[in-house]
Amino acid sequence: MLSRSYYALVIVLAIPAFIWLVPTIWMLSLSFQPNDVLARTTSSTGFGLIPIPFTFENFFALFAFGHTPLWFFNSIIVALGMTLGVLVVSTTAGYALARLEFRFKRVVVVICLVGLMIPEQAVFIPLYTMFADFGWHNSYQALILPRVAVPIGVFLMMQFFKGLSKDIEEAARLEGVGWLQIFWYVMLPLARPAMVTLAILTFLYAWNDYLWPLVSAQKREYFTITLGLASIQSNFAQSEGLGRVMASGVIASLPVVGLFLIFQRYVVRAMSVGGSKG
């Protein structure tokens, strides 16, 4: 059924796909090679793409000393905290905007639309001075709070709730069920797919965020793994050894790559929804 030209196409495309993958393979391969070998040459076997000589030393060393495990832990806390926060405020606000009638609704929608146009890079200086006034720098809340109330999350949930049928809701109203109960017992369970999408988008964003952690976390104890990796890559050759830095890179990528490979369908949908809406 599949024609010969189809197989030709697959083979022709496999070449650029492999080239696309080479940098990642290289990082992976270098992380499994001994530092003293890498100090001499990075192309021992097959341009260094095959990890021979092979060692687990770099990964053991990461967990024996250095900050990497702590940074990884910080990233988990920050990413999970931000994801939870975004889910809570986006589902509640999204539901209210989609289904409830209240005063100032239009005003709220307009304020949200304005927020869509404000890039993070345009507010990081005033945010810095605010958190300095609170004395909140170098804390988890400083890394989490500025990205909890994001208009894009509210719009995603609002659109999802708008698409749901009103029948169940109206039946519940006739039974005398309160709005908050309807939201909690009826709407939230229905919203699970949209929540997964939003959660993945947020987790990826939080894990990979760089500028705000760079500005806010000055103590190494509060670095996220993304930030910590930046701090060790400038002097990789002298201090830690190339293999260990690459091993840090591999560890830093594991959660997001794992998330992507397991929830591929969701990630792709999240990206196409999130991308086209802002």
């Binding site: 796909a17 146009m117 909890v148 109330a149 709005w179 500028l211 993304t226 890559q233 997001v256």
Partner: protein, 354 residues
């Protein structure tokens, strides 16, 4: 509980955090931009800031003896006039929507005006680095966006089939997209290293001499662009794929009857139906890449010779290395105006869609 009260309970958590951590900082940023505000001085003494009105704006964007002439940079200014005329003609001929046409004409006039400004004899820009930095940022966007768009469009067209092999290939191309900027720069910094880098190793194996990518004036920007294209192709590809799946199969069947297959079908059926997706992808990327920071900050430090210095990095440096919050805030406002303009375009296009 009334509907009004329920709504208040549900919307307040969002609204409070939103006002405190996005809307208020935004206005506070504008307020800071009107002050002579030294980060360290104000940290010790909150009254050490001074209201200076628009002085910071002139210190960043203006200069001494700035004059305007009709053809100071003939290439750009004539180009802008030609662009405006062509757009106007296209609008009248009905080939362009008038909203989009007026937008292009507006931008063309902006180019015409801005490129005519220059410091006259004995004059100078107060900030010599600001406009070159803006120009670098625009150059980066101008190189990255078309590259990503074309490669992603090509890949999406080739991979738009629901088979196992194609799905695996799509995954491979998308994978780099989920890596963080620091992992990406970690990889590419060493890829481009003249002594240890894979690029150099391969060049040498074929008898070439290695290029010192990241510190060579000619190649540093190219290295940043290559890194960015590698990193961000996935999202554009996904958006194109989503757009292609919305094109009905009947169109292709009808086309096949007229002998439009393969490339012909792509040109006459796929492309015209992808116009909207194309605009979304391009605008999205302009917004995204105009805010480039990590790649430059980590790979070249803006060098060599400021050739890869970009706007967000300049804001960061002015604020946190030079402690000049007032001037940095001015640049942030400038960034917001440009980004806000593009977001507005995106919003309007999104509205038209739904």
């Amino acid at each position: 509980m009334s509907q009004q009260q329920a709504a208040a309970v549900l919307i307040l958590p969002f609204l409070v955090i939103y006002m405190v951590f996005l809307i208020y900082p935004f206005f506070r940023g504008i307020w800071i931009s009107f002050h002579d505000w030294n980060l360290l001085a104000v940290a010790f003494n909150p009254d050490a800031k001074e209201f200076v009105g628009l002085k910071n704006y002139s210190r960043v964007m203006w200069g001494k003896n700035i004059t305007w002439s009709f053809f100071h940079s003939p290439f750009w200014q004539t180009g802008a006039v030609i662009l405006a005329l062509v757009t106007f003609w296209a609008k009248d001929a009905g080939r362009l929507k008038s909203s989009l046409a007026w937008l292009i004409i507006f931008i063309a006039f902006l180019i015409f005006f801005v490129m005519g400004l220059y410091p006259d004899e004995g004059g100078r820009w107060y900030d010599r680095r600001f406009w070159p930095t803006v120009a670098n940022t625009i150059l980066f966007v101008a190189l990255t966006v078309p590259s990503v768009t074309f490669v992603a469009l090509f890949l999406a067209a080739a991979l738009n089939r629901e088979t196992r092999a194609m799905s695996v290939l799509r995954t491979l191309f998308f994978l780099s997209n989920v890596l963080s900027v620091t992992v990406v720069t970690l990889i590419w910094q060493i890829m481009f290293s003249p002594r240890q880098g894979l690029v150099a190793n391969i060049t040498e194996a074929f008898g070439g001499s290695p290029i010192i990518w990241l510190t060579d004036v000619q190649f540093a920007m190219a290295a940043i662009v290559i890194t960015t294209v590698w990193w961000s192709i996935g999202i554009a590809m996904i958006l194109f794929l989503a757009g292609m799946q919305d094109i009905s199969a009947e169109l292709y069947e009808a086309g096949a009857l007229d002998n439009a297959k393969g490339l012909k079908a792509f040109w006459f059926i796929t492309l015209p139906n992808l116009k909207r997706t194309m605009t979304v992808v391009v605008v999205l990327q302009i917004i995204l890449h105009f805010q480039v920071f990590g790649q430059v900050h980590l790979m070249t430090n803006g060098g060599p010779n400021d050739t890869t210095q970009v706007l967000v990095r300049y804001i960061y440096q002015t604020a946190f290395r030079d402690s000049e919050l007032g001037r940095a805030a001015v640049m942030a406002v400038f960034l917001f105006v440009i980004m806000g303009g593009f977001s507005a375009i995106q919003l309007i296009l999104g509205r038209e869609e739904s």
